[in-house]
Point group: none
């Protein structure tokens, strides 16, 4: 009757990821309103975006929502804390204000996602962590590791995996490492989705009214 089950295309999924990078997780309506992605995600609702992102992340580490949930529950019995700020990792520009009007997509924007890019599982988690943390000045590796550990009960060797992964991402150009402050910033997706190369280091536009506690 209702929906014939509309499978997500690689293009849509890429748009979603780029949208999360730009607006952060939980800003589904903003992503949909962004003329940058609205065309690709025309047939999706904000709830659809949320659900898809949940599926992506659930599968990312645990292979299923159920397992992720169980793991999360188990892990909530032990909250550890550890800090060791070193390198800061931030997300790219996104200077544009949240204005759902102008901003024509750079003419002939490359088909975005390009070919099959089997983005590894950890990468999605990384993006989620960085965007979710929203730490002023960016997130250091320790914080990211902590975030992932607490949320997903990642393996104990997470820090090592994380370091390796970050290095790899820098090597293949997905991330760029800032030599001065040891910052990483993504430029591959940004250049593909935003039609230009990201320059400089920015933090997430802090205009969302967060509850202070």
């Amino acid at each position: 009757m209702g929906a014939p089950k509309q499978k997500w295309t690689a293009e849509e999924e890429a748009a979603l990821k780029a949208g999360v990078l730009k607006h952060g997780t939980g800003k589904w309506r903003n992503i949909l309103s962004d003329p940058e992605f609205s065309s690709v995600l025309r047939s999706r609702s904000n709830v659809d975006l949320k659900d898809k992102w949940r599926n992506i992340n659930a599968t990312a580490i645990w292979g299923s929502r159920q397992k992720a949930k169980l793991a999360l529950k188990r892990n909530q019995l032990a909250a550890k804390h550890d800090d060791n700020p070193m390198a800061l990792i931030t997300v790219p520009p996104t200077e544009e204000v949240v204005d759902p009007k102008p901003l024509a997509i750079s003419s002939g924007t490359p088909r975005v996602t390009g070919p099959k890019k089997p983005v590894s599982r950890l990468e999605n988690i990384l993006l989620e962590a960085i965007t979710s943390l929203r730490e002023p000045g960016g997130s250091d590796r320790a914080s990211i590791a902590l975030y992932i550990e607490e949320k997903y009960a990642a393996p104990l060797n997470l820090k090592k995996l994380l370091a390796t992964k970050l290095k790899l991402l820098v090597a293949n150009g997905t991330l760029t490492k800032d030599c001065t402050t040891f910052n990483y910033f993504r430029n591959k997706i940004s250049s593909a989705c935003f039609g230009r190369k990201a320059e400089g280091f920015f933090e997430i536009g802090e205009e969302s009214h967060q509850h202070s506690y």
Copy 2:
């Protein structure tokens, strides 16, 4: 991070219901200011009360806000009128004393499977109707039925359901039927919330003029 979502407790819900009984719907600030409920509802805002009451009533008959809205819209295309006063139904006193005690009215059991409980749902509608009507001398069954019909496009057999429900409430002690004027008044909630049994027949404190339909 943000607010972890504060779930409503059975006690808070009971206080809200009692508050609506006493002050009427839409008097959220009054309910909050009332020393009778201010302690229990300390962590809630007037908007929270409004939202919760909306959720309670939305679920009461239609199962969801969306369905209720659609039903209401559909029904607004046909307004019928009918009068046949007989028995008057009023709400009880609700004077003072705060006694946050047990009390286990409806408060839908969380995980219970099996068939829903439309019984306790109607109860909320009844309260809403009686308090909203605020008819001098109390509301008779026909008026209550009319109110519900107009607002919720209830099934045609509403009158019968209503009669059955009222009888049941009297039987189980939730309501008391006045043999002389055929009045009903609630005493279960009042005794549980206010720490004593309601006595005598009263009408809603005449201090606020409600919308007329």
